[in-house]
C-alpha cells in the first residue's frame, strides 16, 4: 500500500504535469466541501454542545465539562458499560465462531459452496436493523415460533435480555467475521504447512508457530471491527427491547427525543462524544493491524 503510493509519487515527480494536477484539485474539491458541510458541521456542533450548558433563565451559554462528567455517572455510566460489555461479549463470540466457519469454507473443495457462503455473508453482514429484530422476535420472542413449540418460556428463556441481544447480534457479526478473516486464511500458503511438516511439526505445532502468528493481526482486526459494529448498533436493540436494557445508543436516543428530562440534549451530545472516542480507539487499533496483516498476505 505505502510502497505503491511512493512509487506513483516519484513517477509523477519525474514527469510533472501541471494541468492534470490542477484538474485533480478541482474534481476533489466538491467532495471535500460536501463532507465539511454535511459531516464536519454536525461533528463540530456535537463537540461544541458537549462542552456547553445553556442557562434557561438568562439564555447565556457557558463552556464547561459538566456534561462530560454527567455522561460518566449514574445511569449514563451504566449504559456505557452495558454497551461495552455487550459489544465485547458478542464480538468475542462472533470472532470465535466465525473463524472455524471461515476455515471450513476456505478449505472446502466445492467452489460453489464457497461462493454461496461468501455471498450470503455479504448479505447477512449488512442485515442489521429492523428486519433482523423482527425475525428474531418472530422466532424466539414471547410469542415466537420456537418459543411456543419448544415451550422455552417455562425454561427461563427471555429474548429481551442481555444474552438474547448477544444471540441476535451474532447474526450479523459472524458473517462480518467470515468476510474479514477469509482473505487472511486464503493467504496461508500450503507451502508453509508442507515446510512445517517436512521439518517434523505436528498440525498443532504448525498452528501454534506458523498459522496463528500470521493470522493474529487479522484476527484482532476482525475482533475490534466486530466490537465497533456491535457498539454502534441502535436500530436492532431499539426495535426489539425498547429501553429495558441499558445501552448507550438507547440512552442517547431517549435524551435526544426529550423522553427523560428537558435540557438533557447536551448530555446526549457528551455521550455521543464518549461513543466517538471509543469508536476512534477501535479504529486506531484496527487500521495498523490491517496494515500489518497486509504485509504478510499481500
Amino acid at each position: 500500500m505505502t510502497a505503491t503510493a511512493v512509487r506513483v509519487d516519484t513517477a509523477s515527480a519525474a514527469s510533472p504535469k501541471r494541468r492534470r494536477r490542477s484538474l485533480g484539485w478541482v474534481a476533489v474539491v466538491p467532495l471535500l466541501a460536501f463532507t465539511a458541510l454535511a459531516f464536519g458541521l454536525p461533528a463540530l456542533a456535537m463537540l461544541n454542545g458537549a462542552f456547553t450548558v445553556d442557562d434557561p433563565a438568562t439564555g447565556a451559554t457557558a463552556y464547561t465539562a459538566d456534561n462530560l462528567t454527567a455522561s460518566l455517572q449514574g445511569a449514563y455510566l451504566t449504559a456505557l458499560l452495558g454497551s461495552v460489555k455487550l459489544s465485547a461479549v458478542s464480538a468475542g463470540l462472533g470472532a470465535l465462531l466465525g473463524l472455524p466457519l471461515a476455515q471450513a469454507v476456505v478449505t472446502s473443495r466445492f467452489r460453489a459452496l464457497r461462493e454461496a457462503v461468501l455471498t450470503a455473508s455479504g448479505v447477512l453482514a449488512n442485515f442489521g436493523g429492523v428486519p433482523l429484530a423482527f425475525a428474531f422476535v418472530a422466532t424466539l420472542g414471547n410469542a415466537g415460533v420456537l418459543t411456543r413449540h419448544l415451550g422455552l418460556t417455562d425454561k427461563g428463556w427471555d429474548l429481551y435480555s442481555f444474552w438474547g441481544l448477544v444471540i441476535v447480534y451474532l447474526y450479523f457479526l459472524i458473517p462480518l467475521m467470515v468476510l474479514t478473516i477469509t482473505p487472511a486464511l486464503e493467504g496461508l500458503r500450503p507451502q508453509w504447512r508442507e515446510a512445517a511438516q517436512n521439518n517434523g511439526a505436528t498440525p498443532a505445532q504448525y498452528w501454534r508457530h506458523v498459522a496463528l502468528p500470521v493470522l493474529l493481526p487479522s484476527l484482532l482486526g476482525g475482533l475490534v471491527l466486530l466490537f465497533g459494529s456491535a457498539f454502534a448498533a441502535y436500530a436492532t436493540a431499539a426495535a426489539m427491547v425498547g429501553s429495558s436494557i441499558p445501552l448507550v445508543t438507547l440512552q442517547i436516543a431517549d435524551a435526544i427525543s426529550g423522553n427523560v428530562l428537558v435540557g438533557q440534549e447536551n448530555v446526549a451530545l457528551a455521550l455521543s462524544l464518549d461513543m466517538v472516542l471509543v469508536a476512534g480507539l477501535v479504529m486506531a487499533v484496527y487500521l495498523p493491524l490491517q496494515r500489518r496483516s497486509a504485509r504478510w498476505l499481500a
Binding site: G24, V28, T35, P42, A45, V105, P131, A138, L146, L273
Partner: protein
C-alpha cells in the same frame, strides 16, 4: 482426512441451522396464525395498510437521490486521484473513512443540534428558508445529506477497488489520442470499465438507505424502516411479513449484483 471432513460438515451444518432457522421461523410466524390456521392474510394486507406505499416511495426516492449525489461527488474525485493528484489520496482516504468512526446515533445527535440553530439563530435571515426546505416532510433532503455521508466509506472503497483493476491513465491517454475530449474520455472510456464498481456502490447505498432507521426516526421522518416499527405495535404479523419481504428484496438485489459484477463480491467490507 475423514475426521476433518466430519468436522467441516458439522461446522457448516450448525451455521446453516443458526442462519436459516430465524428466516424459516419468520415465514412460519406470518402464515401460521394461532387460532386461524395457515393463512396468507398478512402478505395480502401489506399493500392495503396505510402508509406502506408512501413510506416505501419515500425510501426509494431518498435512495435514488443519495446514489446520484454520492456518485457525482466521488467518481470524479476518485478518477482524478488516479490520474494526477496522488498526494491528495491519503487526505481523501481519511475523509472518506471518518464517518466510520462516528456511530450513526452520534451523527444524528450532531445533525439535530445543527438543525436547531435554524430557528434559534437564523430565523430572520434568508438562511432560515434553507433550514425549512431541507426538512420538508415530503422529501427531507437533510436525510440525503446524512445518507451520503454514511455511504461514503463503502462507496469510496468499492470505487477504489474497481479502479485498481483498470489502467485509467492508459485508457484516458488512448481515448485522448483518438481525438476524444475530456468528458468523452471519461464517459465513454473510463466509466464503462467501472460498471461493476458503480453497480456495487449503488446497490450498497440502496441497501443502506432502504434499511436505515436511526437517523430518520430521530429526526422525525417516516421512511420505510420507521414505518415498519410503527406498524409493529399494532400488527405483529404484518411487520414480520414486511421484514421478510424486505430481506428477500435486498437479497435478490445483492445476488443480482454478484451476477452482474462478475467476480466482485457484493460487499466492500471484506
Amino acid at each position: 482426512m475423514a475426521r476433518l471432513n466430519l468436522w467441516r460438515w458439522g461446522v457448516l451444518g450448525l451455521a446453516g441451522l443458526y442462519f436459516l432457522v430465524p428466516l424459516a421461523a419468520s415465514v412460519v410466524f406470518t402464515v401460521d396464525v394461532p387460532g386461524q390456521g395457515v393463512t396468507f392474510d398478512a402478505y395480502t394486507r401489506i399493500f392495503a395498510t396505510e402508509g406502506f406505499t408512501s413510506s416505501l416511495l419515500l425510501s426509494l426516492e431518498l435512495a435514488a437521490a443519495t446514489i446520484a449525489v454520492v456518485l457525482l461527488l466521488t467518481v470524479p474525485a476518485v478518477v482524478a486521484l488516479r490520474l494526477g493528484s496522488p498526494r491528495l489520496r491519503p487526505v481523501v482516504e481519511v475523509v472518506c473513512s471518518l464517518p466510520l468512526v462516528v456511530p450513526p446515533i452520534a451523527f444524528v445527535a450532531g445533525i439535530g443540534t445543527v438543525l436547531r440553530w435554524g430557528p434559534e439563530h437564523f430565523s430572520r435571515t434568508p438562511l432560515f428558508q434553507t433550514f425549512v426546505a431541507v426538512q420538508n416532510p415530503d422529501f427531507p433532503f437533510v436525510l440525503v445529506l446524512a445518507y451520503v455521508v454514511m455511504a461514503l466509506p463503502f462507496v469510496y472503497r468499492a470505487l477504489d477497488a474497481g479502479l485498481r483493476a483498470v489502467d485509467v491513465r492508459t485508457l484516458v491517454e488512448a481515448a485522448r489520442s483518438c481525438g476524444a475530449n475530456w468528458p468523452q474520455a471519461l464517459l465513454r472510456a473510463v466509466l464503462p470499465n467501472l460498471r461493476g464498481a458503480l453497480l456495487n456502490a449503488s446497490f450498497l447505498t440502496l441497501a443502506l438507505v432502504l434499511g436505515e432507521f436511526t437517523v430518520a426516526q430521530l429526526l422525525g421522518f417516516r421512511p420505510f424502516a420507521v414505518w415498519i416499527v410503527n406498524v409493529s405495535g399494532s400488527q405483529a404479523q404484518l411487520s414480520v411479513a414486511v421484514s421478510v419481504l424486505s430481506l428477500l428484496v435486498t437479497w435478490l438485489l445483492l445476488l443480482a449484483l454478484a451476477g452482474v459484477g462478475g467476480r466482485t463480491r457484493p460487499t466492500s467490507r471484506g
